[in-house]
Symmetry: C2
Subunit: 265 residues, 2 copies
């Protein structure tokens, strides 16, 4: 097992899919998305996914025909249709539209950088971003992922889960990702914060992912079973960050969260 590269087999071992070709095609997309250069050859994919070359070739042909991937010489990369489909997903989230509207006319938030995110496996994924302040331009984009423990939204969404789910995702000996000296190191620290977040109703991230930058986040209450829970966050420079400004931002974030949670206000 440990003797060479680790082929993350497309199929999760015994669990045979009801439509293997589809599962494998999805694995191809994942592999392309995660490849540092974004380009892989047929052999790369075949090797990495443990799929025979001839089958891989067929998959790629079908994926290319569907414009889900593009071929450039011998290299394959993700296709534009994925942008289209991603956009279609986002356009269906009424929350996103309302999010923009609210931010524009909120007294404090309208000048800040606000984002809306969602849990996606063991990460959060950013769904939309409002930028009132060209001064602080974030490097992160819509669709980007972040570990739960490294962001205010991540922590606030984590706090919404049941304790046993949290325990399953973060056993006591888990190694947390670290991006700055202030990043949380242990599951214990994380759980302590979760407890605090539940009490105060919002989360703070203090330079844990980027030095000089702080974040505040609140959860959007899930109205019924309408889908996975959303979170909102404001990002600010630590240098220009005051207690009273924070209080205002949390207040407005909570208003926004409330209006997103109760569609018909």
């Amino acid at each position: 097992m440990a003797d060479s590269r680790t082929p993350r087999s497309a199929e999760g071992l015994g669990s045979s899919s009801p439509a293997p070709a589809v599962t494998r095609a999805a694995a191809v997309l994942d592999a392309l998305a995660e490849a540092p250069s974004g380009r892989l050859t047929l052999s790369d994919l075949s090797r990495e996914l443990g799929i025979p070359k001839s089958s891989t070739s067929n998959l790629l042909l079908a994926l290319e025909e569907a414009r889900l991937i593009t071929r450039e010489g011998a290299d394959f990369s993700l296709g534009r249709k994925l942008v289209e489909l991603g956009a279609a997903y986002l356009s269906r989230l009424d929350e996103v539209q309302e999010f923009y509207k609210f931010c524009e006319q909120a007294p404090t938030l309208s000048g800040e950088t606000v984002r809306i995110a969602m849990i996606d496996g063991d990460h959060i994924i950013y769904l939309a971003r409002y930028e009132g302040h060209p001064a602080v331009r974030l490097t992160s984009n819509i669709g980007d992922k972040m570990p739960l423990s490294l962001s205010a939204v991540g922590k606030v969404l984590l706090a919404q889960l049941h304790d046993h789910d949290i325990e399953a995702m973060f056993p006591d000996d888990v190694e947390l990702p670290v991006m700055t000296p202030k990043s949380l190191r242990s599951a214990a620290e994380l759980k302590a914060q979760v407890a605090a977040i539940r009490k105060q109703g919002y989360a703070l991230e203090d330079e844990e992912s980027t030095l000089g930058v702080v974040c505040l986040a609140v959860p959007v209450p899930t109205h019924g079973a309408h889908g996975p829970s959303l979170g909102l966050s404001v990002t600010a420079l630590k240098a220009t960050f005051s207690e009273e400004q924070a209080a205002l931002m949390v207040k407005e974030l909570k208003e926004l969260a409330h209006s997103l949670g109760n569609p018909m206000g």
Copy 2:
């Protein structure tokens, strides 16, 4: 043919795919993306795509497992993973990063709404948007599509194609989509504009998609065979639009286009 709903069969008739399951899965995604509500049931999909229910069920199971779609009760809709994949595609386009940087420090453009787009089949698709001017917020989002004939970028990208390709896409009797009284109506008009665009090097859209709004666009020269050609556009309100401002914007757009076309400028 005309007697009832038109099942747009998943397979393009005789053309059997090398991996039918994948092709059909892609058709499912398309159908979900195009469905007005974004939600379809198993039977809906089975009927619309002409796939037996049992097979459709298998496809959906596999797609759900891959998180490409989500089930909510009996309804299926697109999954978050698509946002992720779309973002992965965009993050690989170096042009997008440079696009933002340039816009921020361009004297005129930095205050305007600028977009970068690409041809995608018979439409254009917006890849990124810079908003210097919260005053004019566009309703269109990243990933949105627009007919070629209705946008400045569409026309400018069309002008880059060979005449016989244009002819194939727009035969003389084609019916063009119309969104405002000023939208182009005939292929002849469109072709005349294409000729003009080739001479002057930029395209103008004068309230053809939205009344009160004008657009200027330039092509990004394709450096080698590096992929499909990109286009840039500025959007402005017709009311506040002057000749000399237009000249400045075209000048800066061309600079940007040049630096995108020659990566190491």
